[in-house]
Amino acid sequence: MQSNTSSKPAPHSSEKPDERIQRVPFWKKALSRPELGALAGTVLVLAFFIVAASGTGMFTPAGIVNFLEVAAQLGIIATAAALLMIGGEFDLSIGSMIGLAGILIAIPAVEYGWPLWAAILLAFSCAGLVGWINGNLVNKTGLPSFIVTLGFLFILRGLAIGISRLLTGRTQIGGIHEHMQGDWFAALFSGEVATGLFSWMAAQGWIATNFAGNPLVTGIPVSIVWWLGLTAVATWVLLCTPYGNWIFASGGDANAARNSGVPVRRVKISLFMFTAFSATIFACLQVMDTGSADTIRGLLKELEAIIAVVIGGALLTGGYGSAIGAALGALIFGLVQMGIFYTGVNTDWFQVFLGVMLLVAVLFNNFMRKKAMEAK
């Protein structure tokens, strides 16, 4: 049979492989990235508001921080949801976890005088446990994570209400701000960064003053830093680390991944834990920011996170997607959600507006991706 080899095209051993790698033009590689469509969608939505909200304060530094802050909170959970969805699973309990985590931080601190860092650690431990249970249930039963985590959507929300009614008789716990003084751990989740830079910019007259006569922006809210940081870390993990490769593999074909020696169970459990942690980060930021916790917090956030991830180009079936895409999805969401207040549209039409803009972004995203595939 070796006699036949000659009739096959010989391998191009004379060519150096590295040269062939470079033959693929950069722009073509960029076209095949999942976040391309989301980028196109973002540009479209931005263009819409630049026209529709022209002459308003939407694109002043304050306006930008305003919608970025809304995007940032969603972006934090969307990043984790993106990793989980690439890993082939859903987590519908994110929103309820936000509510529960807030309660778990507020009650020990306000009612029992715990230092805030201890309360935050408690919330993170409980989140880790919830993620671990979610992951194990999905692994062990083989049930769709959609169903398992739907159960936890109710359980966690119920726990938040039950615990807070049992221990305080209320569903809202305030007065966190008094406990934040001097707590280094809480400081990670509150306030602004680069305030010096902004006051300098204001002094230069680059930043206008607001309705109350203050400089419009005094710094970058820490939630935006968390968002960008998590997106960067998630992107690094996905693209550059073995663990990232395992996430793609687990979502692409769990069986094939397992047969190749990928610890699929561990990957999935860790991803569920990460979504629960991200919900807790969200809760920390919101509790420190508003100074209160409420059992209703985070309502429907799980759906918003999934929407952001899908706008970001991930497949609902797993194995494909990107953290940058999810960040862009969250950005589109933030833009649209805050943008309506600048367009002068009657806010009775808020949800229609939100839905239409998201749909347009997704359709455009889809269209661009198809174009890109054809170009290949």
């Binding site: 049979m1 096959k8 550059c240 680390t241 593999a249 069986n255 094939a256 047969n259 190749s260």
Partner: protein, 284 residues
């Protein structure tokens, strides 16, 4: 043929799933540099046998020996570490992932340390390209999705991956069943190459015509039991076919096919082995 210690050996292995006996008392041995063909019709227990060898299942009874030492695998990862690589029918390839990502799935080369440990993409791409060109597949861009490759090419990537990672035993589950003639021959040629490199190959198929040219020995499975192992020199293609199909069915077909088959086999002996898949009688 040789008195060497077999690379992999099964002694009286049985596997029960509850009351179902999937395998009973299977014994076989494969030395390095040998291709053992595992033949059997659907439901003969081939899949269970592979899964037992590759650590997916643990045998209910009996021993498995690797290079003369008894082994027991907790999971496929342990079997892989011990040098038993299995290329499953579903290929263990993920279409949406790039060639390089697939090639190194589960065993990524890293650089840096601690928190900054990362995949060495330059090296990974280079190795993937090299290994692919070794088997005659010209890859333009190692970051292109595996889904863009043909079935035979994908199969070769899977085998190349196993060989690259120092497999001592290579288990191939129906590697040619879904392929066209030309693609199957690419894979068969590559199997022969793996044997020449000193691997012990277990080649599972129900297609005798794919198996015969590359095999050194045959083990026939039927309804969970073994019909025995035979050296190639001790058994003819007809005999193998005969045993696989099993008495009654074949006898009824025999009258119709006898002449047809006879002439075909005459052709095959004179023709190059690669021509075998073109044979119409290949579907047994």
């Amino acid at each position: 043929m040789s008195k060497r210690t077999p690379m992999i050996e099964m002694r009286h292995v049985s596997k029960h799933f509850g009351s179902v006996i999937a395998l009973s008392d299977i014994s076989m041995a494969v030395c390095s540099g040998e291709v053992m063909c595992l033949l059997g019709d659907n439901g003969a227990g081939k899949s269970t046998l592979i899964k037992t060898l590759s650590g997916v299942h643990r045998p209910t009874d009996g021993q498995m020996l690797l290079n003369g030492e008894e082994v027991s695998f907790k999971s496929p990862a342990y079997a892989l570490d011990a040098g038993i690589a299995t290329v499953f029918q579903d290929l263990a390839m993920i279409p949406l992932m790039s060639i390089t990502r697939n090639f190194f799935m589960g065993r990524e080369p890293t650089t840096g340390w601690g928190l900054f440990k990362r995949i060495d993409w330059k090296r990974a791409d280079r190795i993937a390209m090299q290994e692919m060109s070794k088997i005659g597949i010209d890859v333009r861009d190692p970051s292109q999705p595996v889904g863009t490759l043909s079935g035979g090419e994908r199969q070769c990537v899977a085998i190349a991956r196993a060989v690259y990672f120092g497999a001592k035993v290579l288990i191939l589950d129906e590697p040619t069943s879904a392929l066209g003639v030309k693609q199957a021959s690419v894979v068969l040629r590559y199997i022969a190459k793996a044997r020449a490199d000193g691997l012990a190959v277990i080649f599972i198929t129900h297609n005798v015509h794919h198996a015969y040219p590359v095999a050194d020995a045959f083990t026939l499975l039927k309804r969970g039991g073994s019909l025995g192992s035979f050296r190639k020199e001790d058994i003819s293609r007809e005999e193998v076919l005969n045993m696989m199909a099993g008495g009654a069915e074949l006898e009824s077909l025999d009258a119709e096919l006898a002449e047809f088959q006879h002439t075909d086999q005459e052709d095959q002996r004179s023709a190059r082995p690669e021509a075998a898949p073109q044979n119409q009688a290949s579907s047994v």
